[in-house]
Every structure is written in structure tokens, then in C-alpha cells.
Symmetry: C2
Subunit: 129 residues, 2 copies
DNA sequence: ACGAATTTAATGCACATGCATCTAATGCTT
DNA sequence: AAGCATTAGATGCATGTGCATTAAATTCGT
């Protein structure tokens, strides 16, 4: 029966991807929440802002680099604003646009959380075969 | 600076895992919903029941093999029951336990959906390097 | 230059999930 | 045998997400 073994190989790869992803994601989520009061989405948002050269990003640019819908990102940013970690500033060139910018507190929180992030990856992300 | 390149390698692997997982998961979710009115969790639940030798599983056994909390699984099963795809039958040996069992409709739905599942994996799961 | 179409981001809504709790049944200790 | 601890699974609750819609600003067509 042709294609049989490639089907099971495909399923195996998907299963192992799923296992691996969930293992890391669950532990990241827990560690970031406990140690830094951040969800994974929140950390990823801060990380995009801290990592890219300029600390000021349009919502849309942010959304493109992330695995969140536009609405989910909007609310994530709202939570970060409420926590004092980012600020929204409207953009003069196109007044529909919104800039999101790290605050000092946001930069500091990200710097702390980065270590936890790396530690969890080192512990739970299996080495490449 | 020691460990520097391994850190970026770690981050790169995590990013690519994330990208890959999201790409596949989003497409699976959409394809299964459109073509078979199933969420990924629902499909995975049916799949566990259809794949394991006996079609009758305790909630707990099911939960162990899945990436869902106990409560999420309980509600997923409730949705599948409402859709007529599985049945709950209580277990005589231990009357706290609940057996979950595929119905004929459930078996049929899984058989159809399996093809969609494989097709999406084949299309979106990158080949191993 | 004016109006329609498009784009940006926020919001109402429905819903799936996890945590904590609850109920029922079983096991364990004395 | 009685009582306490444990286990199985369901449910209340809070929350994060996506879809569809909305409001405001910009762009395009004529």
C-alpha cells in the first residue's frame, strides 16, 4: 500500500511536535506567571518590543510578528498598559495607527523574565536529534 | 562570552517550533471545523478512541493521552455526546469511573476527518531537515 | 474636491480552557 | 464496622481568544 509509511511518519512527527510544544509552553506559562506575573503572550509582546531595534512598534507590525489575532493583541497590550509595562502613543503621520512603546518598568520586567524564559527552554526544549 | 551562541540557537529552535506548531494547528483547526464540524480537541478525542484497540476508555486514560486539563476534557466529551459522536457509560467495577465509547456516527465522523487531518499535515508540516 | 472604499485598532459576543471546588464512590486505618 | 482520606469526574467562575462589527482616519476614483 503506497504512502502508508509516510503517513505514519507524518503522524509521528506531528505527535512529537505537539508533545514538545505543549511541554515547553505549559512550563513557560507557569514559570513566567509565577516568577514575573506575565503570561506567555505578554512576554512575547514585550520581547518583540525589546528585541527589535526601535522600541516603538505599530500594533500591526507587532501583530505580524506574533501568533495572536488582532483583537487578542489589542487586549494583551491593554493588559500591559494597565500593568505599566508599555504605553500607547498615537502616531502623527497616520492617526489611525497606534505606537506601542516599552516603559522603563517594561524594559526591566522583560530583562528579568528573559532569564526565566531561557532557563525553561534549556530545561524543556529537547536538543535537536 | 560563553554559552552565547547556544542561547541564540535555543531561541531559534523555540521560534521555529512555535512557527511550525501554529501554522499546522491553525490550519488543522480551520479545516476540521469547515469540513467536519470538529474542533482539534474534539478530533483528537475521537482519534484516541478510534486508534486505541478497544473503543471504550475511561476519562482518566483519555486525559493522560491528551493535552487537555481534566475539566476541559470533560466538557469536550460533553460536546461530543451532544453531537451524538460518543456515549458515556458508567463503569460497574468502579462507579466513580465513566467509560467513553464511540458511537457509529462517531466512528464514521472520525474516519472522514482522518483524511482531512492527514492532508493538512502533509501540506503544512515541513519535512524533517 | 467630494464621496466611496479601505485600513487601523478597539469592542461586543460566544466559547474553550484552567483552577478551584463539589459530589459521589472507593480505599484505608483502627 | 465506622470514619477519614483519596480518587473520579462534573461544574462554577474567571479569563484569554477569535470572529464579526464598529468608529475613526486615510486613500482612491471620478
Amino acid at each position: 500500500m503506497p504512502g502508508m509509511s509516510s503517513e505514519t511518519a507524518l503522524l509521528d512527527r506531528w505527535r512529537s511536535l505537539l508533545t514538545c510544544y505543549n511541554e515547553v509552553a505549559v512550563n513557560l506559562e507557569r514559570a513566567l506567571a509565577e516568577a514575573h506575573a506575565l503570561s506567555l503572550s505578554e512576554f512575547e509582546t514585550l520581547d518583540r518590543l525589546a528585541t527589535q531595534n526601535c522600541d516603538k512598534r505599530r500594533m500591526q507590525e507587532l501583530a505580524e510578528a506574533m501568533y495572536l489575532s488582532q483583537s487578542a493583541l489589542s487586549r494583551t497590550v491593554t493588559r500591559l498598559v494597565d500593568a505599566g509595562l508599555v504605553e500607547r502613543t498615537s502616531c502623527v503621520q497616520d492617526r489611525r495607527g497606534i505606537f506601542v512603546e516599552l516603559t522603563e518598568a517594561g524594559r526591566a520586567r522583560h530583562a528579568e523574565a528573559r532569564h526565566t524564559h531561557l532557563a525553561v527552554l534549556a530545561e524543556h526544549l529537547p536538543a535537536p536529534t
